[in-house]
Each structure stands twice: as C-alpha cells, then as structure tokens.
C-alpha cells in the first residue's frame, strides 16, 4: 500500500543518525572447493577459528552470532544450524541466529550483525557463512538452487538459475548489443584472477576459444559463464570502531552497508536487465559512506553468472547501462585496470558455496585493504565495495569498506 509507506529518506536519515561506526577486526576463510571428507560444521568451525585468531579477540567477549546459510537442511539434512555450528566452535549461551536469503544469506547476516553493533546492542559480534553443496548430484543441486526462485511460476516451467540468468543475458544482448565475447571476457578475467588465489576452487586460466566453446548449460550461457558448486565457509568479527585498536592495528571500517529486496520471480520485473534492489542498496550505501561510484577503487561483485557481473557493474553506477560488457572486454575491470573487479577470482573461479559467499567477499576485500593479496594486490586499495545478490535479484547487500 504505497499510501502507507514511510518516507524512505526520512527513515534512512533517522537510521544513520543513531549509528556508531563499526570495524571488521578479523577475517577467516576455508579454501573453497569440493571436500568429500568435510562436513558443514567442520568447515564453519575452521573459518570461525581463523577469524577469531586473526582478530586476536578473547572468544568470551563475543556477544552474538549470525550465520548465513542457504540450504543446509536440503544439502546436508541438518537444521537448527546456528547453535549447531556455534557450540562446536566453543560459543554457548549467546544468541545464535541463522539467516537465509538465498545467495545473499551471509551478506544479510553481515548486515544484521553490523546493525546490532552499529545500534549499540553488542560490542563484539561474530558472523559466518557456510554451505556444503558437493555431496549432492548436479541435478539435485540444480533443483535445490531453483528453490531460490518462485517455484509456483518459473520453477514449474523448468527454469533453473542458469536459465533465469540466460534469459537476462538474452534480453541484455537484445537491448544493448552485449555479445558472447563480452560474457567470455568476464570469465577469462575471473579465471586469471582465481588462478592466483590459493583458496580458489578452480585455479585454471582459460582462453577465449575455451570460454566460447564450453558445454551449454542454459543457452546463451555455457559452463564457463556459470559459478561453481562448492563447499566452503567464511567468518568475520565486528566491534565498534572506537574499540578496534584494542585488538588490531589494521582494521577495516564499514563506511556504508545496505540490504534491500524485490520480487522473487524474474517475470515480475518490468525490465530484467536491471536489478532495482542493487540500485537501491548501492544508493543507500553510497549515501551512508558519503561516496559515489567514482570513489570505489576495487570491488567484489556477485558473478554467479558472467552476465550478473556485467549487470551489477551497471547498476552500481561504475558504467552506464549497457556498457558493462565492453567495460570488461576492454580490460577496465582487470587487475591493473582502472577499477579491478573480482580480484579473488569471483564466484566463477574462487567458487560459490552459496551461504558463504557474502562474508567471503568481505574477507577478500579486506585482504586487499591490508595489502595482503599477494600476486593479486591492486595498486589503489583504500576503499573497496562488495555486492552480494540473492536469487535473480530479490535480495541485495552492498558493503563499502575502508582501510582504517
């Protein structure tokens, strides 16, 4: 009911007024890949221990835990995941909450954890994301992932997630002249970056010929346009900025973060080449950070499919609508280009353990902010942006971090 909607700007200003600055003081990841001998819990515990160790915070000071996970019950047959994971990592008594927002589950967990620190509920919060996917067959994984769409409409027609993004790609090609070569440029770049990332799932450089000739998954997308089915976990620790120096000399300040939503079904959108949730999350995060797209020095974008990185680069304001393909093909988003995107290898090459992806992106941004990205290190690394997308655009979380 539009008549009853609160004035958005007014709510947002109130929200910003009572907020205290927040810092990420620790990051921890597992490698992403196919790990037949590892279960969901052991992956999550490893990432959490790494993050707590990196933060050098006594575990007893952690006051709340938020876990991003998409489909643990379907993939691993386990529910009640937040306390299940937390207790194994040595955290008892504290409030533990699982957040499910499809592929944006841990981005959403990060947003809610940030909120609880920013608005004074807690002084130390642990956030993790985890997914264990490779124990299921590909048709079963495809079926589980399709559940992030509208199962009554597009799901009943047989629309897989690759198919939804294939339809976005087809329309983007029709409206803006985007080509198969543009999509391939994203895949080639992200594979080249991932090949240099020791924690990436597929460390393999690919050529243009390979990228164009991949096995079709959902035309016009082939296997090289699709992110990987992976196992993995990631975790971070948040505290108020004024306390961060107690634990570390190299924290990351959260300059801006926003979570937005939209209809789940792709066919409910007027123009499927645009994700309104991305635009709105970006607007809010930029406003909070007092920054614009031109101030962003590098980014981790949600390239669940090559076309998704192209659309996100447009919706975040890095380039004009329709220019995302040529931008990637010209090398502008490569390491060494004016705006490096997905220096981690992205979901394409680093891997996409769905529930771990959002927090994983934050960890990858912070590696760059700290100057710890090794062969992948970008030159300008003071301000980075992460964009985490759920489904075909029904949830988006945009986070802007600054080295502090």
């Amino acid at each position: 009911m539009p008549g009853q909607k609160r004035a958005e700007g007014q709510t947002h200003r109130r929200y910003l007024k009572y907020m205290r600055p927040v810092a990420v003081i620790g990051i921890g990841k597992t490698a992403f890949g196919a790990f037949p001998d590892r279960d969901l819990r052991s992956l999550a515990v490893e990432a959490i221990r790494n993050a707590i160790g990196d933060a050098a915070i006594p575990p007893g000071l952690i006051e709340a835990f938020y876990l991003g996970n998409f489909a643990g019950p379907s993939f691993a047959g386990q529910n009640h995941l937040a306390p299940y994971v937390a207790a194994a990592a040595g955290f008892e008594d504290i409030p533990c909450t699982r957040i499910e927002n499809a592929c944006a589950s841990s981005g959403s967990a990060f947003f809610h954890g940030w909120q609880s620190v920013a608005h004074g509920a807690y002084d130390a919060v642990l956030i993790a994301g985890v997914e264990k996917m490779t124990s299921q067959s590909t048709p079963r994984v495809t079926e589980i992932l399709a559940g992030a769409g509208d199962m009554s409409g597009e799901g009943a027609a047989g629309a897989t997630f690759p198919a939804l993004f294939a339809m976005i790609a087809r329309r983007h090609m029709y409206q803006y002249g985007t080509t198969r070569e543009h999509l391939a440029a994203v895949a080639i770049k992200n594979h080249a970056n991932g090949a240099k990332n020791p924690l990436a799932h597929m460390r393999k450089v690919i050529t243009l010929e390979q990228a164009l000739a991949g096995k079709p998954i959902a035309e016009p997308l082939n296997v090289y346009d699709c992110s990987l089915i992976s196992d993995g976990a990631a975790a971070v620790v948040l505290v108020p900025l004024y306390q961060a120096h107690r634990y570390t000399t190299r924290c990351a300040r959260v300059l801006g973060v926003a979570q937005t939503s939209d209809h789940v079904a792709l066919d409910s959108k007027a123009d499927i080449t645009v994700f309104p949730a991305v635009r709105k999350a970006a607007d809010k995060a930029y406003e909070m950070a007092h920054l614009g797209p031109r101030d962003i020095q590098f980014a981790e974008l949600h390239d669940c499919f090559t076309i998704a990185e192209i659309v996100a680069s447009e919706d975040l304001g890095f380039v004009a609508k329709g220019e995302g393909g040529p931008f990637a093909a010209a090398g502008c988003s490569s390491i060494g280009g004016p705006l490096p995107i997905n220096t981690s290898g992205g979901l394409k090459s680093k891997g996409h353990p769905v529930g771990a992806t959002g927090v994983g992106q934050i960890c990858d941004l912070i590696l760059q902010l700290r100057g710890d990205a090794g062969d992948r290190q970008v030159e300008r690394h003071r301000i980075g942006l992460a964009q985490n997308l759920g489904g075909s655009g029904a949830t988006c979380v945009v986070t802007i971090l600054e080295a502090a």
């Binding site: 495809t142 597009e154 027609a157 198919a163 294939a166 339809m167 976005i168 959902a218 016009p220």
Partner: protein, 81 residues
C-alpha cells in the same frame, strides 16, 4: 486441461535449458521463455518443439497449448500443432 487465461503472447526473452533440475531431466534440452500476454500479464512458460524451426525468439508470437502439472506449454505461432 482447459485454461481460461489468454491464448496468445509475445516472447520477451528466452533460453534453452540443457542442465535441468531433477524432475525435468528427461525433458532436456528444452526451451523456456518469459512471455508478455495479451492481457498485460507476464509469465514464465515452456515452449514446445525440438526442431530448430520450433524455436521462439524475442518478439515471436506464441500460442497456448496446454497446462500439465502446473507447467504452462506454449508453441511458436504459425506452426502446426
């Protein structure tokens, strides 16, 4: 099965699914499309046909064929059923 919905629409976008979810593996490869219907609604449907001529492109007219187990089947207009 009878349907009271619009019988005709125009393809807004489409894709050919090769890697299908478990319940549709036997159908693959198959075409799906988002279709703009005469009444202004937009739906995701299955396009019938296995020949290259049956393939619907953006802007093509499609006709309703049937609804089976919740899946809406259309075919490209101008083709024999």
């Amino acid at each position: 099965m009878e349907s009271n919905g619009p019988r005709e629409g125009v393809v807004y976008t489409e894709a050919i699914v090769h890697s299908a979810p478990g319940q549709f593996v036997a159908d693959a490869p198959y075409q799906i499309a988002i279709v703009d219907l005469e009444d202004g609604n937009r739906l995701t449907v299955r396009i019938l046909g296995r020949n290259p001529d049956d393939r619907a492109h953006i802007g093509d007219r499609v006709l309703f064929v049937e609804e089976r187990q919740g899946t809406l089947y259309y075919r490209k207009a101008g083709k024999l059923a």
